[in-house]
């Protein structure tokens, strides 16, 4: 995946670095770090930032149709937060010596990855609740752990993001609960939405760690603090009682509580679907990238104008001086 060969690191520096990690210290932008660490973080953080930015689209799709002013404002505020979170993480990534625009270009030309969940369409208003509840719920499980990641700027961005995202999941669950207590049509809309998003939400944690090529190294360097499977199980354990509380079912006939492990055991995940979406064959891959490219292309003259205006201003103040 990395086009550049990994350089041979100085063993003494590497040992000192790993000792710092083991001691629980946080790594700051100008500290020495192995090239692999820098690349892994750049990859992870930019994917995370891209996911926030692409993640604006499925929910943005319903802003103009929100059925009450209160819901409309919550949804705008939530999608706006996603832009903000993308921005925080891009800025965090820039501390690793990469340019946001270069990262963004990789998203636009389709070479960068982002969370596969955002390649699913939003087909009904209920999806706004279910995304908040399940998708943000899964993201929060992930991000709470990332707030303790070893790279300082990433961890700090995550702390800020987790604080702000508290409302995302709550508003989503509240929306679901309202629909669940609503008319038969509202309840049916909610159940259908849960049926569509449950499995993709479970896939958000990524493949099992035994199949995840990057996991071991990321765990050793405390970029990741928990395995994908641990986080997925935690999410399922949190979510099942929430589903029971509002009276929706989850589309998994094998779902059962194991009194010994106290875990909710779930059925097999269809990873072939996941890999198809990652490869670009999800229901909305083309549409999402096209939308981002359109916004970027149609915004070019605006960015150019701002740049040109600033240059004129600077020239005028030099003349005046």
């Amino acid at each position: 995946m990395d086009p550049k060969p990994t350089p041979q690191e100085d063993p003494a520096l590497l040992a000192a670095f790993e000792a710092r990690i083991a001691a629980g210290e946080s790594i700051e932008p100008k500290d020495w770090m192995p090239e692999r660490y820098r690349r892994q973080l750049t990859r992870m953080m930019s994917q995370h930032a891209h996911s926030e930015v692409v993640g604006m689209l499925p929910e943005g799709n319903w802003i103009t149709r929100a059925p009450s002013l209160r819901r409309k404002m919550s949804l705008i505020a939530k999608v706006q937060d996603e832009a903000g979170h993308g921005l925080y993480i891009y800025c965090g990534t820039e501390t690793l010596g990469v340019d946001r625009f270069d990262l963004y270009r990789q998203l636009l030309d389709g070479t960068a990855k982002y969370s596969s969940i955002f390649n699913y369409p939003t087909l009904a208003w209920a999806d706004m609740g279910v995304i908040g509840w399940l998708v943000d719920g899964a993201a929060i499980v992930n991000q709470t752990v990332l707030a303790k990641t070893s790279y300082g700027p990433y961890a700090r961005a995550m702390v800020r993001i987790c604080k702000e995202e508290n409302f995302h999941k709550r508003q989503g669950y509240e929306l679901c609960a309202t629909l669940a207590a609503g008319t038969p049509a509202q309840r049916a809309m909610l159940q259908d939405s849960v049926n569509r998003f449950w499995w993709p939400a479970l896939m958000m944690f990524g493949p099992s760690d035994t199949d995840s090529p990057n996991s071991a190294e990321l765990l050793r360097w405390r970029v990741k603090r928990k395995t994908n499977d641990e986080l997925r199980q935690r999410f399922v354990n949190l979510t099942v009682p929430q589903a029971q509380a509002i009276g929706v079912t989850l589309p998994d006939p094998d779902l059962r509580f194991d009194p010994e492990t106290k875990n909710w055991v779930f059925g097999a995940i269809d990873w072939s679907e996941f890999y198809e979406v990652i490869k670009g064959n999800g229901p909305c891959n083309q549409e999402r990238l096209a939308a981002r490219n359109r916004a970027h292309d149609e915004g070019r003259w605006v960015r150019e104008a701002a740049t040109a205006h600033q240059a004129k201003q600077a020239a005028r103040s030099t003349e005046a001086a």
């Binding site: 820039e94 625009f101 003259w301 701002a306 600033q310």
Partner: protein, 101 residues
Amino acid sequence: MSAGAIGGDSHWPLWEVFTQGNQGEPFEHAGSLHATDAEHALQNARDVYARRGEAVNLWVVPSSAITASAPGDAGPFFDPGNDKAYRHPQFYKVPRGVKVF
């Protein structure tokens, strides 16, 4: 389009944003953003970093204007400050019986 072509966000310089949460409190680093000039950076900072009333004051500083101490300097820069006990009040004794000083 190449990264250096005009219109790229990279042509908008990076700014560091500092927010003051309440009157009288110190300014803290909140994050960074891209903007063409100081007024633009201030407006962006207000929208990006003070959406939830986190600030009563904002500073924006071009990132290029910040000089940081190098991690390698950590020892020479900061260790000498750790052994100057006479800079701390606990270094000085007060006669017994003086309870409130």
